[in-house]
Amino acid sequence: MSAVTVDHSTDLRFAGMVASAICGRGMRRIVARPTLIMPVLLMPLIFVVSFTGAFGSLTRVEGYGTDNVFNWMAVYAAMQGAVFAGVGGASTTAEDIENGFFDRLLLTPGSRVPILVGTMAYSALRSTIPTTGVLLVSALGGLRLPGGPLALVTVYVATAGMASAFCLLGLAVVYRFRTMRSMILIQVCGFSLMFLSTGQVPIHFMNGWLHTVARVNPVTNVLRFARQGFLGDLTWSMTWPGLVALGAMVAVAGSLAAHQLRRLAA
């Protein structure tokens, strides 16, 4: 009896099937267990409500940039939701590792990259849920679109990118520590990066070390890119730094995740 060998490593179609199967499994999991998506949807909604409610008086401080606090905070809340979506995607893998499913997934022949891509795509897709929720609630609160419909496109691009980056970062940690508990590291990391940016106030409101940190924080550029259409017209000078920051975060987090996955699979 002769064995038939198939080299799947060069088979892009097969890789695509694996990635889409992983992504689809994640989405089906949400349908099967709606309790999992509720926090991802509800938390950013509560964020936008609480930030606009608690810090509404900020618009009374001269130089805030807008007289409508929803126009400032909506994007920030959507980005927080994207971080949750990304961490949630990685949490799915943590659960798979703990219950043994991931060991079976590693038996899949060929490259491991589709495992990363599939989980990342699941997170990016998952991020559209909180983003849409935040925008709808903000619209009810009086959100305006001075930049036109393109303002919405920038938010969806930014949140999908953030979810991808944090999913990959979460995967790097999960592959390393192999527990759900390790996800708290990424949650804290995500929150910290968001808070050390221009999430709640413009950069000229900050002083001391915070001003310096926010200026070099890549999230500041992503927020500038995503928020521009809510404060005025879209410009290329506000767009490209955000896209570069997103690309860099995905690349760095992806490299870390790929490295840890190789170690795990070895």
């Binding site: 267990r33 309790t35 999992l36 509720m38 926090p39 938390m43 509560i46 964020f47 409500v49 609480s50 930030f51 606009t52 409610g53 608690a54 810090f55 509404g56 008086s57 900020l58 009374r60 401080v61 949750f84 949630g88 949490s91 659960e95 703990e98 219950n99 759900m180 508990r181 996800m183 708290i184 949650q187 804290v188 929150f191 910290s192 808070f195 050390l196 709640q200 106030v201 409101f205 900050m206 002083n207 001391g208 070390w209 915070l210 001003h211």
Partner: protein
């Protein structure tokens, strides 16, 4: 670390905000934000009791525990006990760090003790909630979701902004939020000085909530056991 980071961030980004008419008279936002940081710090760890319980349910260890001939209540209280000790240590550390960076407690050392006790009671309240969620869902991810929930309930209170500078329905929610009922008297102890009325409010409110959530967790456990 995160609550300390948040306090540091807010102190540096809200320097113009403390000049708003209606904001309490403070030298720095650091004094204003101390109770918020304390509550945040201990609350984050509080969800651990629920997460650990959910993990035990997921991996089957809890089934073996329930088969053992012991009372059910210690299964829940044991984990809360650990969270209480951690919360007390965290509370002392947070206050010490704030004092180191120039914060002042007008109510003196006794007020600092009240702060820590109130924080510990709050941990029991949140821990009970996490355990109830763990029993209902049996999912670590679902229990982990209480982390942002707790985080947000702190934001929908007077923790980071005085309620008199809020408006509309949000102000009403913030004023009705039990976290505000804990934060406000604690903040008065820090900014204005010792008051028995404030001490009473700071301790009784979290105590009542603790009793309620732990009771609900025990009821949920009993229902789970009787249905299986």
């Amino acid at each position: 670390m995160f609550p300390l980071l948040l306090a540091a961030v807010y102190t540096h980004q809200f320097t113009r905000v403390i000049l708003l008419p209606g904001f309490p008279a403070v030298d720095s936002f650091l004094d204003f934000v101390l109770p918020a940081s304390l509550v945040q710090s201990v609350s984050f760890g509080a969800t651990e009791a629920g997460t650990e319980l959910a993990r035990d349910i997921e991996n089957g260890f809890f089934d073996r525990l329930r088969a053992s001939p012991c009372m059910r209540l210690p299964l829940l209280l044991g984990r809360l006990g650990g969270a209480v000790v951690v919360a007390a240590v965290k509370g002392v550390l947070i206050i010490a760090i704030f004092l180191l960076f120039g914060a002042e407690i007008a109510g003196g050392p006794a007020a600092a003790v009240v702060l820590v006790v109130a924080a510990v009671l709050l941990v029991i309240a949140i821990g009970g909630l996490g355990q109830m969620l763990a029993i209902f869902t049996g999912s670590q991810e679902a229990v982990n979701a209480t982390f942002p929930l707790v985080f947000t309930s702190i934001f929908m209170s007077s923790a980071f902004f005085p309620t008199n500078l809020m408006s509309g329905w949000f102000r009403e929610v913030a004023e009705a939020n039990p976290v505000t009922w804990i934060i406000d008297p604690v903040r008065r102890l820090i900014l204005e000085g010792w008051s028995w009325a404030d001490v009473g409010q700071a301790l009784v409110v979290p105590l009542v909530i603790s009793v309620a959530t732990v009771t609900m967790a025990v009821v949920a456990l009993n229902r789970k056991l009787s249905s299986s």
